[in-house]
């Protein structure tokens, strides 16, 4: 609800009505313009334009900051949720995986309220119970890596799906490589992630 009580001039009134009509986000109530007597209509118009420009620039700056923060949060979320991959029958962290996990460490440090569930997977080769164990080993070695950086293990849980939920169907190297993985699910603190 716009408060028009302080509106003095017809120009200002029309501007504010326009401002009201634009709706969200609700703007700050403009500072009431003290109108010294004897100003010309031109002076009044200039003053209003200047004030509008000032508010626009504040809004733009706020918007840019918000967008930057959102971008950073989105990037942080992507960093957290990025899947990491493993070699055949292995649960050791490869150098490529290590870089991805170090980036997660930074985000997790900046977001102490975030909790993660590590979901371990295996490719279809091998027996199913073995692959469940292998998926658990992969999730466990990711958690071990993160806690080695001083992060609390209480923030992480894990579950293994073995070979049951392939990311890509198919019995070829491409599918197998995509299926040997740990996925990351944010289980708490996901609404307030900030960039690191």
């Amino acid at each position: 609800m716009c408060n028009a009580r302080f509106v003095l001039g017809a120009f200002a009134a029309s501007l504010l009505i326009a401002g009201c009509g634009r709706g969200q986000p609700v703007q700050e109530t403009p500072t009431p313009i003290e109108q010294p007597p004897g100003r010309t209509p031109q002076e009044i118009a200039d003053s209003i334009a200047a004030e509008r420009a000032r508010q626009d620039s504040i809004r733009a700056a706020q918007l840019a900051a918000e967008q930057a923060a959102q971008r950073a949060a989105r990037a942080a979320r992507q960093t957290l949720e990025g899947t990491v991959y493993f070699d055949y029958d292995e649960s050791t962290i490869t150098s490529a995986t290590e870089a991805a996990l170090r980036a997660k460490v930074e985000v997790l440090r900046a977001n102490p309220g975030v909790r993660l569930r590590m979901e371990g997977h295996a490719d279809e080769r091998g027996t199913s119970e073995y692959n469940i164990a292998l998926g658990n080993e992969r999730a466990e070695s990711v958690i071990q890596f993160l806690t080695n950086f001083g992060l609390s293990g209480d923030r992480f849980s894990s579950v293994s799906y073995g070979e049951e939920q392939p990311a890509m169907q198919g019995s070829n190297e491409e599918a197998w490589a995509l299926n040997r993985r740990v996925e990351f699910v944010i289980t708490a603190g996901g609404d307030s992630i900030v960039g690191s």
């Binding site: 055949y88 029958d89 164990a133 579950v159 293994s160």
Partner: protein
Amino acid sequence: MRARHTGASLASPAGSSAGPAAHARIAPGLIAGILALLAGAATPPPSAAQEPEGQIPGVELTLLYENLYIPPLAILPFRTTGDSPETGALVHGIVARDLDYSDRFRIIDSLPALWNDQQGVQYAFWDQYGVDWLVIGTVERVAGSRFLAVELHDIVTASARARGRFPLPAPDDPGFRMAVHRVSDEIVMWATGEQGIAATQIAFRMPALGDPASKEIYIVDSDGANRRRLTWDADLAVSPAWSPDGSRLAYTSYKSGVPKIYEIELATGTERMIGPGGSGQQHSPAYHPHGGEISFTLTDRGSKGVVSYNIRDGCCLRMLAGGRAPNIQPAYSRDGRTLAFVSLRLGSATPQVYTMPSEGGTQTLLSPYRYGQGGYFTDPDWSPVSNQVAFAGGIVNRRTVGRYHIFIADLDTSDNRLIQLTREGNNEDPSWAPDGRHLVFKGERRNGLGIFIVDAATGRQRVLVANVDAEDTDWSPWLGNSGGAGQSPGNLPRGGR
């Protein structure tokens, strides 16, 4: 009298002079005999340099069962009194297939046109025809009740071996087929003195029809008929395990978000969680033979491995094989005193089968691991009648990746003699039948996936269910007393002798 081959001829293939006195066709110690034969016939193991890639040292790769005598059995078309010929043909078909699937007889299905059983069994005729056993059956319908009367005749001794009369539900009754299977097992018992496996079922899991992302538990009869779905969780349901009395089935479900062990009471369909509470993941349940305890794989922060848990009182979680490397897939021995399990302690790419006392204790490597060669061995299952452990695996290298076979290790031999039962495709999840002779497993062949059955005594394989992506096969105990899932037949009287 025609000379008869016997089980004894196994030990000396040239000798076939055993008469009626040596009437044991398939002796109880058959498999042991075969193993002994194999042990005697085994050539000295070649040196490592000569071994073909992927071959396991000390493993008998060839099935040498040609000397096993399979007695011919003729089964006459079943007569009917007061019932339709169709019912007689239906029952006859089930019994004939059961006897064939027992792998204890060679079924004679093309019978001579001149046979005449109206004036009693013509033993001399059947003897000339080369038949050892003759089955005669009649489906009787009296005042709304049905009976299946069967006779087993021993042609070699020219005498009736046994006859019995068994109540039979109507063909559209859910317990009909299981009642017929039970009669088939009775015939096997009369002829061999050993329990048949017709009245059994196999549990497994596979993608649900119409919902390929979910895995559900299914059950099928031993002859491949009567496949039905047991779980409707629309989630992951894996590793079904029969209780020792066949009345319950345990399995692991992800439906709570964390894999936990549940148990279904088959007669009522009611389900309960039987594992301990807590955050841990629970997999691979196996019942202790007394039924009041399970062993399973626990994966929890700071404690993972093979554990046991008292499901009767809901207490007493015990870590039996813990440690840093995963220990998984427990399987009890028939007396419950020993557990076989799989450990990844030698490397995540080389899982091996171990044994240990079921109270925990010294762990012994069972599978044929040799340093530098690797090897991938999982899915142990202990024979319900002997000290034989089946498992799946192979030497894994570039050429043999994913090529797993079914093996049996005989712990009663001094060197844990190994026999390889499959030779083609990929084979996993072996599970013993209650006769300790047949095994069910998941097989992959050039022409598709399926559930297979192999007879360890003859090496004969058959497809149980074709074209299904089934895993975690588990063979039930004999269900002649309980009736199994979805069945409600009464107890059958023992046939006369």
